[in-house]
Amino acid sequence: MTAFTHARPVRRAAYVPSVDLVRDVLAGSILAIARMISRAEAGYAEASEALAQIYRHSGKAHIVGITGVPGAGKSTLVSALIKVFASDGSKVGVIAVDPSSPFSGGAILGDRVRMNDAAESCQAFVRSMATRGHLGGLARSTLQAVDILDAAGYSPIIIETVGVGQDEVEVVTAAHTIVVLSAPGLGDDIQAIKAGILEIADIHAVSKCDKPEAAATISALKGMMALGTVKVASGWNTPVLAVSSVSGERISDLKNAIGRHWQHLRESGELADRQRGICKTRILGTARHLFQQKFNDEAGEVEKHIQAVMNRNMDHSVAARLLLGWNNEVPAT
């Protein structure tokens, strides 16, 4: 059996050099923005100059991270937030991250289903991104996509992380304002699940408050916060808000809290700290990636050391230093 296709050859689209797309990205062309994000994701060397140019035009947007357990209602909430932000005239950008399959490398990116209508009616830019093997709840190029949207004039830019459990919290050093979304009805689980991500919230939201179980979750959260395990950063009081994306209840309160946090960051000077943290993570993360790539390309080098370590001629620590060319350094441990 065959598929039915045209007899004539398929049309070919030309490869437009990335630097030629920069002007269109800055002018807000959706086609150019979308293509530039793909180039960042693919990691084409050809795109690095263009991305560097774009980066110089970024730095204006408020970056909001939304995180929480799988199924907490993150995508539905983002969809509701798009509407309230857009009603104020904001150009909302969204990057929604889902995991790639470790087996095939493919992914089903399911967040858009919930956001389509809002994106369409509010002219928001919604992009789904697969992690492509990156751990921590984001994709390696998520922040480059944010730069691109930022330079194109989008703000706020909302990042929906992969549904996280305990410790996948890279978003902390990616966004200015972190909203941790909890779902009601998780009962005792809340202790375990929240332990890792409770502290990172600038704003706690409890989803699905149209359901009766929500009240218990809210009091559990407030109870844990009263225990003082939560950071008290420069006078910001982490609010706990019950929202319903279905009924729309208190979505605008959440929007206002996000706005207040942004104002707080700027007025207290904490924004500079956050930005410093974001830059540091990006530099180190990229360095780690480049280094990994280098040794993927020079597999033979690594292989030599594997043999030596297997033969017990040296240990992994010495081998790693040799690999890095730090031959003279005495291992610290």
Binding site: T5, L31, A42, S104, I108, R112, N116, A119, E120, S128
Partner: protein, 154 residues
Amino acid sequence: MTVTMTGQDFSPGADAEAHSLGTIRVLVAKLGLDGHDRGAKIVARILRDAGMEVVYTGLYKSPGEVVNAAIQEDVDVIGVSLLSGSHVPLFRELGRCLREQKAEHIFVVAGGVIPEQDYAALLESGVDAIVPQEARADLIVTTIRNLITARGRI
């Protein structure tokens, strides 16, 4: 990246070529008043297992909405699953929206319940390939890979 765990046998040649073009992205779309979503979900899984990134639109989308989503997601292919019988006007409108939005670089692949006598009309409206209903997973995958391979990197 190229290993599949589905037991399907994809030829390594096609695989290597497709991967040198980067990860293939596909928007699986449901157009119009058509609530049959089993096929669309199965196709999404087949493509995921073949290493592609799949965005699903959900049900009841207009051609204009599908094109806007496809552009933002920068997909290589819009895969439309249509079982309602309204394929001729819907694909005509989809083709028109793609031209209007200057997004003709995006391929359109059709599947579902589409009688053979309508194939010519669909190809005429800008559909690039039609996969027969009884096609196996590997035909769905290779149809898409072949289009991308012939196009090259964009």
